[in-house]
Subunit: 215 residues, 2 copies
Amino acid sequence: MLLTAVSAWRGLVVVVGLSLAAEGLYYVISHLKRLRERRPAQVLFFPAPVTCVRPLLLSSPGHCRCGLSHRESALSCLTRLLISARRSLDVCVFTISSLELSSTVLAVHGRGVRVRVITDSDYMALAGSQVGTFRRAGIEVRHDQDTNYMHHKFALIDGLTLVTGSLNWSAQGIFGNKENVIIIENTDIVKAFVEEFGQLWNEYDPAKYSFSPQR
Amino acid sequence: MLLTAVSAWRGLVVVVGLSLAAEGLYYVISHLKRLRERRPAQVLFFPAPVTCVRPLLLSSPGHCRCGLSHRESALSCLTRLLISARRSLDVCVFTISSLELSSTVLAVHGRGVRVRVITDSDYMALAGSQVGTFRRAGIEVRHDQDTNYMHHKFALIDGLTLVTGSLNWSAQGIFGNKENVIIIENTDIVKAFVEEFGQLWNEYDPAKYSFSPQR
């Protein structure tokens, strides 16, 4: 009887131990999954109210006494996200003329993060395009060379966070139009966009320019 | 001693029972979560090769002997998804001139599914816009009435599946440009877009047209 009781207790201890181990394993896996999918998906809708985002671009917290509002907006959320890049910022947008977003890209580059920009050749040449400013600052910019549009409007932060939607990076897009931007860290989706960026970056390598494109 | 052994066995049974119950609960929750997020997120990249999608629009499986390819493409994936609408199809796109996608919208409407379309007033009036065809078929179409753009490019299938990206629903978008479309069933994201659609549908109610918009 004593032996039976001892073996029953042993069984109990084993079962409890296994349960605790399984529970612990579940939490470790959940934690790793949370680390992988760092933040929940988020949606920003535009037009955004006109706000000042300059303080967000400073390396150390600062204040701005301009007359604009400094409250949170879809633009400040987007700025805060882009400026959070630590290793890389890959931008693939049809138009980039917004002074707020181009200042953000320049600030990220200024912090030593590798910035690459892909854009559309037709709109790159229009007044207001910030491509010249980027190139003068040493940012690598590549573009298509045909009459179809490089019409994507996405960015990849550290190769982990995808920012994508209908928003062209222009003042009209931000402050005028009905637009959407999704921020997502779903591994499969991000991987597909990382691959798309890599393919376009390679396809638009200046070494491959023909300078007599088929039109 | 006998009592101790019995109570140890009872404890063992309770622990094993609780472990099994917890495991069962975990699987039920996982299953419900999978049902909620019906299919994994998917990305389509364009331009798509020119393919025929007409057989996909037939109520019963049919063949088409036209000279075009009938293989799978980003366009056929998108068509198959839109045609799968059973209760509602809410389309909110800047431009809709693609004959393939407008035929799909008409086919969904023809099956008795409630179709609502929101578009941009400036592009609605251009040659090739399918808005007139939609209205003649009895599909409800609403639009903005200002000079900014209703620039969204999304659709909601049965209020559960979101199709969104950079793609205008035009031939150039589908067969020419570099474009992306994400198909996603993340509950929070879908909810945000359902609300955005509802707000715009209400804002663009013809009863509210001023016919002398502030420009």
